[in-house]
Each structure stands twice: as C-alpha cells, then as structure tokens.
Assembly symmetry: C2
Homo-oligomer: 341 residues x 2
DNA sequence: CTGTTAGCGCCTTCAT
DNA sequence: ATGAAGGCGCTAACAG
C-alpha cells in the first residue's frame, strides 16, 4: 500500500478508491457534494491505508494553517500560565493549535518571535506582556494577520485587546486599606516604566489616596520586580524606613506573599499589625497563611476571551467590541482586617 | 513592488535582483556557494522588498518544519510550566518552535493531539505526563518522527525518556524522616494507578520503611490528587485517625503545603510537633512559612535535556544514551527538624 | 558559482 | 456529483 517511498498521499487514496484527488479532498474536508456511496468508499480506503492529511501541504494550498502564535513573557510565571491555559482551551475548541514563545519581556526577542511566527504563516497572533511601543505598533500594523493583545492594552487604542482596568483595580485595593482606617498606606509596585501594570497600578494607588485626602509620601513607596524575593526585600526596606506603617498594597501576589513573610520575620502580625493587599489572585494567594486578600483578576478568562476574539478576526466575523475590559473582583481573605464588604 | 495580489515571494526577489530563485534560496538559507557580490545584491532586494520566507512552503519542499509538538497534562500546573520553560528554551536555541497542547491526562485527548501534531508534520514529539500504555506504545512506534518522553518513563524501555528515579527520590525523602527518629512516618500520595509518580513514590516510601524495619500501617497512608486542597484534607484525616504522628512524607509540594496548613490549623507546630517533607521543589516550596523541605527535582533540566535529546534524534546524531536519569537533590528547609545533612 | 527543472501534497476553480 | 489541471512558495538535484 502507499507509494514506494515515504508517506501515503491523497493521490494514493484516490487511485485506490478509484476516484479523483478532488473527491478525496472533498470528503476529507467535509464537503457535502459527495455521493454517500463514494464518500463511504473513500473513507474506507483512507482507513485501510492509514492516510493522514498533510497539514503543511494544505496550508500552502489553502493559505490557512489553523495555528496561531502566542507570544508571552514567561510561561513559568503562574500569572501567564493561567492565561495561556485559557488561550489554549479556546484555541482547541475552535480547532486551532498554538505555537508558544517566551519573550522574557525583551523587545528584541518579541519582535524576532513575531517575525518567525509570521514566517510560519500563523493565522493570527496573540500578544501578551510588555508595553506596546511605537515599534510594536509599526510591526503589528504591517502584519498580514489579525493580532489581539491580552492582559495588556494599546494606549492608542489602535489594536484590539482584552484586559481589566488596572487603575480601577489598584484603586479598589487601596480603598480597602483606607476603609480599614489605616493612617498610612504603603505601596510596593513594579517599575513605573512598565505601562501594563506598573504605571497604571501606581496611578490607581495615587488616585485612591488623592480622592480620600491622604498625603502622598514617597517613603511609603517601594519598587520590586514582581517576584517573591523582591517583595520580601521591599517590605524589609519599608519597615526600616517607617516603623509605623499598618498597611501595604502590593501590586503582585508573589510580592505580597514575600511582603507578608518579611513582616512576619520582623515579628509583626498580619493582619493585626499590618494589613496587606495583593493583586491578581494567582493560586499562591490561597496557598499561604494568612490567606492573601487580593484583587481577583480573571486570568483564564482574559486568555479565553482574547483567543475567542482572535478567532472572530481570523474568521472575518463581525466584531462588536474589539477592546474588551473584563471585570475584576475583590477577594478579601485573611491578610487584611476587613474580610468582607 | 511584489506581485499584484498577496505576498512577495522568492520569485519576486529573484526577478528584482536579476538572479534565479535558486540563488535567492541559497542566500536565504546561508548556503556558502554564492558570490559575495550577488549575495549582497539579493540581500538588498530582500530588505527593500520586505521579503519574508514562507516556512510552510519550505516545509512542504524540504519535509522539515522546525517545529516540535509538546503534549503536556496542564500548563497551569507549575510543575509542568517549569518543565515547559526548559523545553522551550532549548527548542529556541536549536531554532525550533513548539506547538503546545494540554492533554489533561486524558488518554483519548493525548492520542488525538498526537494525531493532529503529526498531521501538522512536526519534526518531533515531546510527551509528558501520563503513564505509557500499550496504546501509547502502538502509536509512538508507528510515528514517523522521533518521540521523547519527559518526566515519565517507559516501563518497557522501548522509548527514549528523561526523568529522575522516582523510587529513590521517595526513599531519600522518607529516610530523612527516619533519621529524625520519628516513630511513625505517614504518607500522603497520589493514586497508585498513576505509574509515573503515584506508584513509584509509594514504592520508595515502602522500601525505605522496609529497609529500616519500620512496620507498615495503612492508617498512615492517605491518597490525594496532588493539589493543595487534597493535601489539606488528607492531613486532616491523618490527624483524626492518628493523634500521634510526628512526620509525613507528601508526594507533591502543593499537597505538602496543604498538609502543613492542616497541621497548623490543628494547633500543631511544624516542624516541632510534626515534620513534613514534600517532593518536586516547585517555587511554592520556597514561598511559604515554614519553608518546605522537599526533594528538589530538576524540572527545568528535565525539559531542557529531553528537548536536547529530541534534537539529536531529529538531527540523526549519534545517541549515547536514550534513557536519561537525572539526579535529584535534598532541599532541607524549615518543615523538617533535620535541616542539613 | 548560478540557473533549470521537477516536484512536495493539497486545494480550488472550471468544466462536465 | 466528479474530474482535470493549475498553482501555493520553496527546495533540491542536476547541469553548466
């Protein structure tokens, strides 16, 4: 069976079934214009020969690969892992596969990855992570396939995206601390140059202070890199500079947990002595003691909705909204004194 | 520039540069047999035209796609996320991309994913997770491309794999608890039907007991699903059935952390009252208090080495060892009384 | 060093 | 309902 060397092709099936390649192609692709009898015959031969369609050839001929490129900062970061799961589930649902690439937030790498993905003729691109710069916009605008941003936004609103309102999320978190009656509210964030969460969350913090007539004090602000250890260090510094703080809003859960532990190591009790709010609600937040109060960001959904939006673009369906803002939630647990609204 | 409709192709570049397609192909592929002058000319035209090679066409012609398929149980599980990072890094290093698929450990899904991946003509397959059954072996043996297992092994040694010795890892963990002088050593594992970690780690636990003349007591054994909550429940049950246990070996870190918290909630002190050993050393282990003592499994390396091995197969290099057992380490932190050897 | 010529395996009009 | 034929964009001998 099959031809001499190599794989068995649509041609082999056609010959064996006594029909043309076109007919085989039709049954493989579910085209209804095939007489049931011949369809059955072809299907039998396919079965018997163990024919496996070559998606690369199909891609070349049809100009569709049913695969999308996903550029992500770091899959080992639980934040992105959860997002990716949402993406992959919906991709599978719509019969797409994803090529996953880690960018480490390096712009050069991001650009290079996009280029590679386009060479591979992906049908669409999902971009998560870093800030969108002019360079990105230039590339994306020249891209032959649709692009959707997830968990980040385009400040110029030129690109479709799905995310949450970071400013409001940070405001909500800060407000909880204000409601608790803390006299001072410290902030541990990520670099303000990070326009995705760094700057917006800082803005939200500031806004909340402002609206509630709290004075801003730069000694109450520390910047980390988002990960556990930097949260630990940041908290240590905060405690050195200011013995009396009773609350901190930390821009990422990992840092927040680090902050809790730094406070604990200093002999402080959380939340009795110091109240700590995180942000994102990654699994870790519910796996530590005290349980972390945090802003619940719908990571899985952001990924899922972004992928769904991308399928609409790829499918040239009508798009009502190309910029989606998902809701976040307050998840008040045991690291704040207020535990419910 | 370019042809009327659609993309600019190698043909356009050839025409514009006044050379043949073959020559353009040569410079694009870094073939040295091109006069520097013409190479430059071609490169210029490529630049000027913004030519982007079509990897799908190349794949069809060359029968190589430089992409590999990765079948993984669940990317949102930190254990696999870390492994995947190792895979992707090495893949990138060797100029491969990865198509990532979540199987949720469902055999039907696994098989279907493999089929899809093969249709897409991946150059190789990396399979992680579930136990290898006869069905798997049948599929893999009929696969036209190399397959490497990661973090799992083929009991029949027919397939290449890279993992650690799960039995020895569990033995080492249990031994620590024995060295501490605990009279009883409890075990919280995953189902024994899981032949990847469930059964082997249970075996290791048993072996260690046996070699040290500890009596086996089924009341000291609980089975969970590997995740935090089930560890918490398991520990609660253990404590109900047996008030006096002073040590537990828990087969996964997430469950171990759950176990710690269950003990804490029961008013016990860890490790003073009860000593807890985890296994895997995922980031979580170093982000809780007390810091979790655990077996450090080189997750990233398993992924990296597996991918490297796969490149060797795809490249038809000589393979010295197709079955690689990586070393694990003892990571003694604060949840055990013994904190160093 | 460079050009010519076949395909790679499939889809897709266009006829029939 | 089915077949014939021309690409899709590129690589890979084979000549020269």
């Amino acid at each position: 069976m099959g031809n001499k060397k190599g794989n068995i092709t649509i041609y082999d099936v056609a010959r064996e079934a006594g029909v043309s390649m076109a007919t085989v192609s039709r049954v493989v692709n579910g085209n209804p214009n095939v007489k049931p009898a011949t369809r059955k015959k072809v299907l039998d031969v396919i079965q018997q020969l163990g024919y496996r369609p070559n998606a690369v050839a199909r891609g070349l001929a049809s100009k569709k690969t049913t695969t999308v490129g996903v550029v992500i900062p770091d899959i080992s970061n639980p934040f992105y892992a959860e997002l990716t799961r949402g993406i992959e589930d919906i991709a599978t649902m719509y019969h797409y596969n994803i090529i996953l690439c880690n960018s480490d937030l390096k712009q050069m790498k991001e650009i290079q990855l996009i280029e590679t993905l386009l060479e591979k003729q992906v049908d669409g691109l999902l971009f998560l992570g870093g800030a969108i710069t002019e360079d990105h916009r230039a590339i994306f605008s020249a891209t032959p396939v649709p692009v959707v941003l997830a968990a980040t936004k385009d400040d110029k609103n030129e690109l479709p995206y799905v995310t949450i309102n970071q400013i409001e999320a940070a405001k909500a978190a800060t407000s909880i601390l204000i409601e608790e009656g803390n006299k001072q509210i410290a902030y541990i964030g990520v670099p303000l140059t990070d326009s995705v969460t760094g700057y917006p969350r800082y803005q939200g913090y500031m806004k909340s202070l402002d609206e509630n007539r709290y004075a801003f004090d730069e000694n109450l602000v520390e910047i980390g890199n988002g990960r556990y250890l930097s949260g630990y260090e940041a908290m240590k510094n905060l405690l050195i500079k200011n013995k009396n703080i009773t609350s901190v809003f930390v821009a990422t859960d990992e840092m927040a947990v680090g902050a809790i532990h730094a406070a604990l190591d200093q002999g402080l009790s959380v939340p009795k002595d110091i109240s700590i709010m995180g942000c994102n609600n990654i699994p870790l937040a519910a796996q530590v003691r005290p349980l972390l109060s945090t802003i619940s960001v719908p990571l899985y959904d952001i990924g899922a909705v972004a992928m769904r939006l991308l399928t609409k673009y790829m499918n040239e369906e009508d798009i009502e909204t190309s910029q989606v803002i998902l809701q976040f939630d307050l998840e008040l647990r045991d690291s704040t004194r207020i535990r419910e609204l």
